[in-house]
């Protein structure tokens, strides 16, 4: 129930922003503030529940993912992807993965997306004229795979009701902290850690070689 409230409120705020930002930026700045104040007054108990925020962030995550995929201008897609990555980081915070949330912002939203911005600026990409969606076979294929996937997900989640793997809420002290991550990375998963560093080295060399102007 709280989830739904979160969803709906995020929907309203997004609609307000969309309606006001291009023409009247000042209004777009004031309206969400007023909405937030109104929220605080009327829905105080909702604000306390994590589910409300999960619903709100969830809506924004889905909306921004949709816009990444659908917007004709690649730079705007990048901006929405950054927003999406922030939402995922917030999800990690809700799931007791604090170190991963910060790492997500540092690595994904702060470095990988900068790479994307760079490339778009270097190549000076413009908005595409018209989104030419694929033809007949592609569309049928996409729809059927989507339906199959949805069915699979529905069945998998339905199945959990008979075999719940839900453990009680009490977590070991320090779950999700950087310290725990560090212990595991340098202990049990040391080989994978070193292999990942070699992978990054290979990727670095590859990227430099591929993007060079002329191989001497």
């Amino acid at each position: 129930m709280h989830l739904l409230t979160g969803f709906i409120l995020a929907l309203l705020v997004s609609a307000l922003l969309r309606a006001t930002i291009p023409e009247r930026p000042l209004l777009a700045a004031i309206l969400p503030a007023v909405a937030a104040a109104g929220l605080l007054a009327f829905f105080a108990s909702e604000l306390l529940s994590m589910e409300f925020w999960a619903g709100g962030v969830g809506f924004v995550a889905i909306l921004s993912a949709l816009l990444v995929v659908m917007h004709p201008n690649p730079m705007v897609s990048v901006l929405f992807l950054i927003l999406h990555l922030f939402c995922i980081a917030l999800f990690y915070l809700m799931l007791q993965a604090q170190a991963l949330a910060a790492l997500q912002v540092i690595v994904y939203a702060g470095a990988i997306m900068v790479l994307f911005v760079f490339v778009i600026m270097l190549l000076n990409l413009r908005a595409e004229e018209g989104l030419r969606l694929g033809g007949g076979v592609q569309r049928i294929g996409a729809l059927s795979v989507g339906a199959l996937f949805a069915g699979l997900m529905f069945w998998a989640i339905r199945n959990r009701r008979d075999h719940p793997f839900f453990a009680p809420d009490a977590l070991v002290e320090g779950f999700g902290t950087a310290r725990q991550l560090g212990w595991l990375l340098y202990g049990k998963y040391l080989f994978a850690f070193e292999a990942a560093s070699i992978l990054l080295l290979a990727a670095m060399v590859g990227a430099v070689v591929l993007a060079k102007r002329r191989l001497q």
Partner: protein, 345 residues
């Protein structure tokens, strides 16, 4: 439960309001500081007409900017053009929110930590929002739809991410010595073992240089070079928008100074204060003032360096970041690990 949430919320709201007030006033008065100090360095006077010692000059400047005509060129990409200045300002403010500016105050029946957000991974948050600061500049350059702005934005992004690395490596030294990601613990550790600048001088120098580069201040201000790229990434901004960029740069400077102070100069710590045995409110106030003075010193240093050292060329800049600072940083990490193993820091 609700009452406690209300209390916590009120406490946070008061801290935030206080912080914003102090920050924005400081940003405004940094313009005055800049002009007076630069005048002093250049053997002239600086603003001294508007109010005693020209102290009302920032107000006059603010009024001037408000009345300036804001010309928004028709060919810019409006949504991103409007968003870009905010994207530079916000990371600076958020980063400052995890910096402790005083010890724990016992008042109103509760322990008030003088830090807006006492999170367990403060250093990671600092690094995270430092990397978010790249976007404002890059997007300002891109949305202006102007070759010079684009070049300025591109160069600035490259500079910012290069020096982010050096900054991170320097911070690793502090992290290893402290053993915890919380900035409150960093300050406490320095209280026990001595200020980090004494043990980790190379790391401090790296962080200082990287902080200069991250805030786009001379000698690293090629992206906004007034004589090179017209005005770099903020060419197409005028009036209120331009002043937003200006203020955002000062906000970044303040945050960077606060970070340097917290990580290397003991934060709010005053050596030997405990020996004096002062009553608690006085001790807390002294430490907060000490923090302010240290940050003020580094702001002065920023202005001093700006008017003393010439600008780096772009290839010199990138060279410094990758080929000089990064190896020194890695060597520094070795040095700090040696210190930590011996138990000296």
């Amino acid at each position: 439960m609700e009452r406690e949430v209300l209390q916590v919320g009120l406490e946070a709201a008061i801290k935030i309001a206080l912080f914003l007030f102090v920050m924005l006033t400081t940003v405004a008065y940094m313009t005055w500081v800049e002009r007076r100090v630069s005048a002093w360095i250049q053997d002239r006077r600086g603003p001294n007409r508007v109010g005693p010692f020209g102290l009302l000059q920032p107000l006059a400047d603010g009024v001037k900017f408000l009345f300036k005509e804001t010309i928004v060129p028709p060919f810019v990409y409006k949504p991103v053009y409007v968003l870009a200045p905010a994207l530079i300002f916000v990371p600076a403010l958020v980063t400052f929110s995890v910096v402790p500016f005083g010890p724990t105050l016992h008042a109103f029946g509760r322990d008030i930590r003088l830090q807006i957000a006492d999170v367990d991974n403060g250093i990671l948050i600092v690094l995270a929002f430092a990397s978010m600061g790249v976007y404002g500049v890059a997007l300002a350059g891109w949305s202006s739809n102007n070759k010079y702005s684009l070049m300025g934005g591109l160069r600035s992004s490259a500079q910012l991410i290069s020096y982010e690395l050096a900054m991170g490596v320097a911070v690793i030294g502090v992290l290893m010595a402290t053993g915890s990601l919380r900035l409150g613990d960093v300050v406490a550790h320095q209280e026990a073992y001595g200020w980090n600048v004494l043990w980790q001088l190379p790391g401090f120098l790296i962080f200082l240089v990287a902080a200069f580069a991250e805030t786009n201040r001379l000698p690293f201000d090629l992206p906004e070079a007034d004589s090179e790229l017209v005005a770099g990434y903020h060419t197409e901004y005028s009036g209120m928008w331009f002043s937003m960029f200006y203020m955002a740069e000062y906000a970044n400077m303040i945050t960077a100074s606060a970070l340097i102070v917290t990580l290397y100069f003991g934060g709010y710590n005053v050596p030997g204060l405990r020996l004096l045995g002062l009553p608690e409110p006085v001790a807390v106030a002294t430490q907060v003032i000490a923090f302010g003075l240290k940050v003020a010193f580094f702001l002065f240093l920023y202005v001093w360096v700006r008017w003393t050292i010439p600008r780096f060329r772009y290839d010199q800049l990138m060279n410094l970041g990758w080929k000089v600072l990064l190896p020194i940083g890695l060597g520094h990490v070795l040095w700090v690990s040696f210190l930590v193993l011996r138990g000296w820091a």
